[in-house]
Amino acid sequence: MSWKELEEAAVVKGGTSAGYVVSGWRVKKPVIDEAKCTNCLICWIYCPEPAIVRREGAKVTIDYDHCKGCGICETECPPKAITMVRES
């Protein structure tokens, strides 16, 4: 793009990361075994992204659009209910 067309000072609107899908960054994805999950929310606390979704009256799920596949949830999960599975 020509310098004449670029927005000066590289100014962009806020809140754009919510719409930014990072699923392509992953090598492995976390999969929750609902039978083992106690909904203790340790994964929700440790997840560096907002990729663990809390639900009223139900167990946590994963927002795969914002999960980068770091695997911290698998390491931290006390009942070992999360497994990192290679992306197909």
């Binding site: 000066e8 000072a9 590289a10 100014v11 609107k13």
Partner: protein, 394 residues
């Protein structure tokens, strides 16, 4: 409105005059940290706040890095912002200088020029600002207290112009100007505020409209963002003249991007900046009285470099003497010398250039020294060395 010729007259130190200008300019935010020889500016502004004479926000930060960071944040909201520093303080701001210019924030900063440690020194040279020469800030050098006062006012108008939107510095030598008390014709506050208006940036952040300034660029567009800044620098040359013209209309005072004294028809022309330009003019006047054809070209606006005006004033010079109050260690010559040689070459002019480095760490330059420098330029051998260190004890 103050008419040209009627002024409140005050005896002010350079630092005091800058603080008074900032108070009059309806500045919203000042974030600064004291450092000699700029300290009086910060002290004076704090005093104005305590006395209820300055309604802007004064942020006493813990370092210069924080000072300029706070200024960057404040300017992004569309506020009129000022800070001041010297020497190590400017060096400590270095990282944020590039953020302020890259984010196109019209911050105005006073730099009471002081040489850099080590060894620890408090006195003047331009090494501090020249160390940040390429940071994308407009750089103006003043040579007396009233000029420094006037430039502080003008720079808000210049920086905030939508064709410019670049931060700017008013430079003046520490102690020599910062602490020297001179007669200043103060301008009417109402007239200054009418002249300035209020900043109206295209982008401004507030809690309802969050924006990212200076978001990531990649190899495919970083160069183009720098090109925009270069273009704004180019625009600055024209806007600078407009600002001066409008300022003159209510103050009766005008300085120019350069000032030419007897350059036309001179066989030796000195190119200098800061307070030494006045010293060299005094030396030239004395020599002119004895029939010698010498002149002085003062560089008042250094970035952007007023290349066309410099060339126009040196076109007929038989020889040129550049004077740098900064020592670019390991370089062929000082920054002013390099710039002058570059534009002369570009214009196809072949006048020999004698590159003088002087006044380092506050070493005084007298009118007699000025005469000696003009005398040296009579000898063609003086033009052989890449640079001459005037006054160093050998």
């Amino acid at each position: 409105m103050t008419q040209a010729g009627t002024f409140a007259v005050a005896a002010l130190q350079g630092d005091e005059a800058v603080a008074e200008a900032v108070r009059q300019c309806d500045v919203d935010v000042v974030a600064a940290y004291p450092i000699t020889p700029q300290t009086i500016i910060v002290e004076k502004l704090a005093e104005f706040v305590a006395d209820g004479r300055f309604s802007g926000e004064f942020i006493p930060v813990e370092s210069e890095h924080s000072a300029l960071s706070a200024c960057v944040g404040a300017a992004a909201t569309g506020a009129r912002v000022f800070t001041a520093t010297s020497s190590q303080g400017l060096a400590y701001m270095h990282e944020m200088l590039y953020n302020a210019s890259g984010m196109r924030l019209p911050i105005v900063m006073a730099v009471a020029n002081r040489a850099l440690s080590a060894p620890l020194v408090l006195n003047a040279d331009h090494g501090d600002m020249m160390g940040s020469r390429d940071s994308g800030w407009i750089q103006v050098y003043g040579e007396n207290v009233e000029e420094v006062y006037d430039r502080t006012i003008q720079l808000f108008k210049l920086s905030e112009d939508p064709r410019v939107m670049l931060p700017s510095t008013i430079n003046f030598e520490g102690f020599i100007i910062s602490h020297d008390k001179e007669r200043v014709r103060l301008l009417d506050e109402g007239a200054i505020r009418r002249f300035l208006g209020r900043p109206a940036p295209k982008h401004r952040i507030d809690p309802k409209t969050p924006l990212t300034f200076g978001a990531i660029a990649n190899p495919d567009n970083y160069f183009e963002f720098k090109m925009q800044q270069a273009e704004a620098m180019k625009n600055t040359l024209a806007v600078f003249n407009e600002v001066e013209e409008e300022f003159e209309s209510f103050s009766g005072r005008r300085y120019g991007a350069v000032n030419s004294y007897n350059t036309d028809g001179a066989d030796r022309v000195v190119v200098a900046n800061g307070c030494s330009a006045g010293t060299m003019r005094a030396a030239a006047r004395a020599l002119n009285a004895g029939g010698e054809k010498v002149g002085v070209l003062t560089i008042r606006l250094y970035r952007p470099f007023p290349a066309e005006e410099v060339v126009a004033n040196l076109r007929r010079a038989k020889s040129v003497i550049t004077m740098d109050r900064s020592f670019s260690l390991g370089a062929p010559s000082g920054p002013i010398s390099e710039d002058v040689k570059s534009v002369l070459k570009g214009a196809g002019l072949g006048a020999p250039v004698m590159s003088v480095v002087y006044g380092i760490g506050g070493r005084d330059l007298s009118v007699d020294d000025g005469k000696k420098i003009f005398e040296m330029a009579k000898d063609e051998n003086s033009f052989r060395a890449t640079q001459m260190l005037y006054g160093v004890k050998g």
